[in-house]
C-alpha cells in the first residue's frame, strides 16, 4: 500500500539503567493501516508503544506524527490513544463516563452523540450505566477500545489487547477488531507476541527481537520469505535441512523421495505432525492429513517442492 505515512520512528533507541530496550528502530506506518509489532516478550515492542504514547522518552532518535516531531510533548498533547493491556478502565466511573472522559478533557460539544455512536460501533448499547466491575472481560475490552477510538486519534496503540481474554473469545475478537479498524478508519498499531494474531489481522508486520527490528513486511512476505532465522522460527515451525528452511506443511510423505524413519506422531485434530529423522541424521517434521496414519518406527519417503525452500 502506497499511502502516506502517519507515524514515523527515526532511529529510536531507549536505554534503561540496566539494559537497552530498543535499539535504533526506524519504522513508517501508513495511514489507515493495521500495523503489528510482533516479537517475544521483552523484545522492546511495548517500550516502543510507550514512547509513542509519551510515557517514556527515547534516549535517541525521533518520533514524528503527522509531520510533527512529538518527542517532547506530554501524553495529553499527543493525538494518539492507547488500549492498555489490562484496559485501565476507571473503576469509579460507569461505561458512559469512561468513554466521555477524553471528550470532556477536549471539551467536545457533541460528546453525547459521539459516545452513543461509539457504543453502537462496539456493540455495547444498553451498558452505558454499568460500572467496569459489572462487565465481562470482552465487554471491558470493548469499552477500552471505545474510550480510545471515540477521540479519533491519528494512531490507536493497542498493547496486547487480547491477552486478557480466554482463548476461544480471543479468536473471535480478532475478526471483530479487524472489522472495527476498517469501519472507523483509524490507524492501528497493534503489539502482540502471538504470531497467529499478527498474521491474521495485519496489513503489515514488524518483527522485533532483542530490541531491534528483524523484518517489516506483509504477513505473507514475513511468513514465506523470512529474512532471518529468528523471523522464520518465530512465525511458525520450521525444518532446517542443510541451509534451507522448510515449513512442515511443505513436506509430503510420498511414494518416492528421501528415506526417513518416523520417530513420533502428534495428532492435532485437523492435521498430524509426523516427526522423522532423515538418513543424514537431520530431523524433519511433516504436517499431513490424519486420514492416512503412519506408525512410529516405520520408514517412509518424504519429498518437497524446491520452491518452498526458504533461504535466510
Amino acid at each position: 500500500m502506497a499511502s502516506e505515512t502517519v507515524l514515523e520512528l527515526r532511529g529510536v533507541s531507549k536505554e534503561f539503567s540496566t539494559h537497552r530496550a530498543v535499539a535504533d528502530v526506524s519504522l513508517q506506518i501508513p495511514r489507515g493501516s493495521f500495523f503489528s509489532l510482533l516479537g517475544p516478550s521483552g523484545c522492546g515492542k511495548t517500550t516502543i508503544l510507550r514512547m509513542i504514547a509519551g510515557f517514556e522518552t527515547p534516549t535517541a532518535g525521533e518520533i514524528w506524527l503527522n509531520g510533527e516531531c512529538i518527542d517532547t510533548l506530554p501524553p495529553y498533547r499527543r493525538n494518539v490513544n492507547t488500549v492498555f493491556q489490562g484496559y485501565a478502565l476507571f473503576p469509579h466511573l460507569n461505561v458512559q463516563d469512561n468513554i466521555e472522559f477524553g471528550l470532556r478533557r477536549k471539551q467536545a460539544k457533541d460528546a453525547a452523540e459521539r459516545v452513543e455512536r461509539v457504543l453502537e460501533q462496539v456493540r455495547l448499547e444498553g451498558k452505558a450505566s454499568r460500572r467496569p466491575s459489572e462487565l465481562s472481560g470482552g465487554e471491558r475490552q470493548r469499552v477500552a477500545l471505545a474510550r480510545a477510538i471515540v477521540l479519533q486519534p491519528d494512531v490507536l496503540l493497542l498493547d496486547e489487547p487480547l491477552s486478557a481474554l480466554d482463548p476461544l473469545l480471543r479468536k473471535q475478537v480478532r475478526g471483530e477488531l479487524r472489522d472495527l479498524q476498517r469501519r472507523v478508519d483509524v490507524t492501528f498499531l497493534f503489539v502482540t507476541h502471538d504470531q497467529e494474531e499478527a498474521l491474521s489481522m495485519s496489513d503489515q508486520i514488524a518483527v522485533m527481537n532483542a530490541g531491534a527490528l528483524e523484518q517489516v513486511g506483509t504477513p505473507r512476505e514475513i511468513y514465506a520469505q523470512p529474512r532471518t532465522r529468528f523471523v522464520a522460527g518465530f512465525l511458525g515451525a520450521m525444518n532446517w535441512i542443510g541451509s534451507a528452511g522448510l515449513r512442515p506443511e511443505s513436506v509430503c510423505i510420498t511414494p518416492q523421495g528421501r528415506n526417513a524413519v518416523v520417530t513420533g506422531v502428534v495428532y492435532l485434530g485437523s492435521f498430524c505432525h509426523v516427526e522423522m529423522t532423515l538418513e543424514s541424521g537431520e530431523a524433519i517434521t511433516a504436517q499431513i492429513s490424519p486420514v492416512n496414519p503412519v506408525g512410529i518406527g516405520q520408514t517412509v519417503c518424504v519429498s518437497w517442492n524446491a520452491d518452498d525452500e526458504v533461504r535466510c
Binding site: P75, N81, T82, L89, F90, R105
Partner: protein
Amino acid sequence: MKLRTAFVLPSAILMAVTMLAPLAIIVVYSFLSRGAYGGVQLPWTLENFTRVWDPVYGFIILRSLWVAAVATALCLILGFPLALFIARSGPRKNFYLSLVILPFWTSFLIRTYAWMFILRDTGIVNSALQSVGFIRQPLPLLYNYGAVILGLVYGFLPFMVLPLYATLERLDPSLIEAAADLGARPWDTLVRVVLPLCAPGIRAGAILTFVPCLGTYLTSDLLGGSKTVLIGNVVQNQFTASRDWPFGAALSLALMAIAIGLLLAVRRRGEELL
C-alpha cells in the same frame, strides 16, 4: 471451646474491662449528683445533661469542632502530597514510612513540651529571629489557637498519612497513564482519577485525625494555655479543679455522641465505618 474462640477471648475480655467498664462507669456517674470533695453521690438526677445545653458549653464545643476541622484539613493538605510521594518512591518506601512513624518512639507529652521550647518567648524561633534582628519583641507564638492547631497537625499527621499511603500505594499506575493518554493534564488526573479513587483512604484518615483532635486536652492545655479552652479541657477541669465528676461525665458523653453522629454522617451507604 473452639480454637478461634480461644484466640479471641483474651482480647475480648481486655476490651470489655478496659473499654466497656469505664464507659459504663461514666454513664452511671453522669446520672448522679456531685460529691462535696469530688466523687459522686445519690440522688439520681438528669440535671448534668440539662446543664450541657448551656450556651457556654455549646460555644466551647463549636470551637472544638472548628479547631479539629482545621487541624484535619491541614493534615489532609500536608499529608496527601507526602503520602503520594512515599507511595511513588519505589524501594525507599519503607524508609520514608519509618520516618513518618519515628515520632511515636518518644512520648507525645515530651514532644509537645518540645514544641513549647520551640515556640515560647525565649524559645528557639524567637531567639533566632531576635539575634538576626528581624524582630525586637518576641512574637506571640505560644498560647494561642495557632499553636494548638500546629501541635495537633504535628501529632496526628501520621494518622492521616498512613491510610492515604495505603490507598495510593494500591492505585494502579496505568489508570494515571490512561488519564494522561485521554488528554487529562496532571491536575485533572489528580482531581478526576486519583482523589476519587482514594476517597476511602481520605475518609479513614480524616476520621482517625478528627476524632482525637476533637477530644484533645493535652495539646490545648500545654500549647494553648488558659486562653484556649477546648471541650477536652472543660471535661478534665470537671474531674480536677471543679470537682464536678457527674457533669464531666455528662459532657464527655455529649462529646462522644457528637463524634459518633459525625462518623455516621460521613459513612457511605453500605460501607463499614473506617
